[in-house]
């Protein structure tokens, strides 16, 4: 049970960490000062959330590993795992292209994140429920920001509309994985710890449909989806993220500043 709980915390935390990292890459590169600050603020929120998940994960894992040489900390979880041990979805590791792309990726994730946290607020695991109660207040602002921008760009000029539509078309095949139930998620749901993804799914697709409609964008007709991230099978982009993210801890283990 402990191992499954640990894996579930990775599922929750890794999405926040990898997306937070993608957003942090935009620091100083946003299209305007205000959007730059907004994206890095959201990055900071996500990193805060992942710290909460990983601090708890370190506690859970620490009880299983008795070897004092291998101390488990939030940092060891974040920085010393191998690619196949990360459980984030393929959506969040997609690289930043133009602003429309960044917004589309953020919107899809936020639209899923909010109902997920709503469900996790009722988790039987007190710590997960507490993290969800804390995070949801921040994620409401994220969804507000990203859906406003989807509408502004979609219902904007011909140029912004076509770029927004291109971003939605490109990323849409990745969103199915967000609400795809893996065996760990199924087990956690049955224990009353995890979220019921079928309930999350209906709210998620409803939000996507409503916002895209309002933004005068077409909802792609796509029935399959790319998956693998939750099982540790990632795209090429993931390795590049880790090489940046882990460089310091791999080169100088346990370094601090």
């Amino acid at each position: 049970m402990k191992e499954q709980l640990y894996q579930y915390l990775l599922l929750l935390g890794d999405n926040a960490m990898i997306l937070g990292h993608r957003l942090s890459e935009l620091c100083g590169h946003g299209p305007s000062l205000e959007t730059d600050i907004a994206l890095t603020n959201m990055s900071l929120d996500l990193f805060g959330q992942v710290r909460n998940y990983f601090q708890y994960a370190a506690e859970v894992k620490g009880e299983m590993v008795l070897d004092a040489e291998k101390e488990i900390t939030e940092d060891s979880i974040a920085f010393t795992r191998y690619p196949h041990e990360y459980r984030n979805t393929l959506l969040v590791e997609q690289p930043n292209k133009d602003f429309a792309f960044v917004i589309a990726r953020q919107f899809f994730f936020d639209a899923y994140h909010l109902p997920l946290l709503e469900a996790l607020m009722n988790s039987k695991d007190e710590q997960i429920a507490a993290i969800a109660h804390k995070s949801i207040k921040e994620v409401k602002y994220h969804l507000r920001f990203s859906s406003e921008w989807v509408k502004r760009l979609g219902d904007g000029t011909d140029e912004s509309h076509s770029r927004m539509q291109a971003a939605v078309d490109y990323l849409y095949p990745y969103i199915g994985e967000l609400v795809q139930e893996t065996p760990i998620e199924k087990e956690m749901k049955e224990l009353g710890i995890g979220a019921d993804l079928s309930a999350v799914r209906s709210v998620f697709y409803e939000t996507v449909k409503t916002v895209l409609q309002e933004a005068t964008l077409n909802t792609p007709q796509f029935f399959g989806f790319h998956d693998g991230g939750k099982k540790g099978v990632h795209s090429e982009h993931h390795g590049h993220i880790l090489s940046t993210l882990q460089y310091m801890q791999r080169t100088y283990p346990n370094m601090k500043w």
Partner: protein, 164 residues
């Protein structure tokens, strides 16, 4: 149970610890101190973050430890998440200090939504008190603030976002 009021001498010391981003606001006024537990000279202070990723929390924890250790205690600081912090935890005195400092204090939830979404003119300028203000950015200089500008006196100012 309110474990804070039990130890006025500790409370007085904590009054002197301020938010590094908003130096006029003590951590007591901000409402991040959740419990004080005391056994002899050993203290356990429980604090809660305003935002999950608030980078000030580590500094605040260190400042608490320094302030109390200097007064002769052995202090431990623990971060707790529940019940989650909301802007309602800011004391009336804290709100007044925010305003004096030039940061508009959080409105109630409904007005906040209007201010950030409808563009309704409800956030008064901290300088001239005019409500003829506009939002520049939903996200400001720190995670907890949005950026506004007064249309009357043109002063740009921070608004402390309502968090509920």
């Amino acid at each position: 149970m309110n474990t804070i009021a039990k130890y006025p001498e500790i409370e007085a010391l904590l009054e002197k610890v301020t938010d590094p981003e908003i130096p006029v606001l003590s951590i007591m006024d901000m409402g991040v101190v959740r419990a004080i537990e005391k056994e002899g000279d050993a203290l356990l202070i429980k604090i809660t973050p305003t935002y999950s990723g608030c980078p000030a929390m580590d500094t605040i924890a260190m400042d608490i430890k320094t302030a109390l250790d200097q007064a002769g205690y052995t202090t431990k600081v623990k971060l707790i998440l529940a019940p989650a912090w909301t802007t309602d935890w800011i004391t009336p005195r804290g709100r007044a200090r925010l305003e004096e400092y030039g940061i508009a204090a959080p409105l109630e939830a409904l007005a906040d939504k209007q201010a950030l979404l409808d563009g309704a003119k409800v956030v008064p300028c901290t300088r001239c008190k005019s409500t003829n203000t506009k939002m520049i950015s939903q996200f400001g200089s720190t995670a907890c603030k949005a950026l506004f500008q007064c249309e009357e006196c043109l002063e740009p100012f921070d608004y402390f976002k309502c968090l509920k």
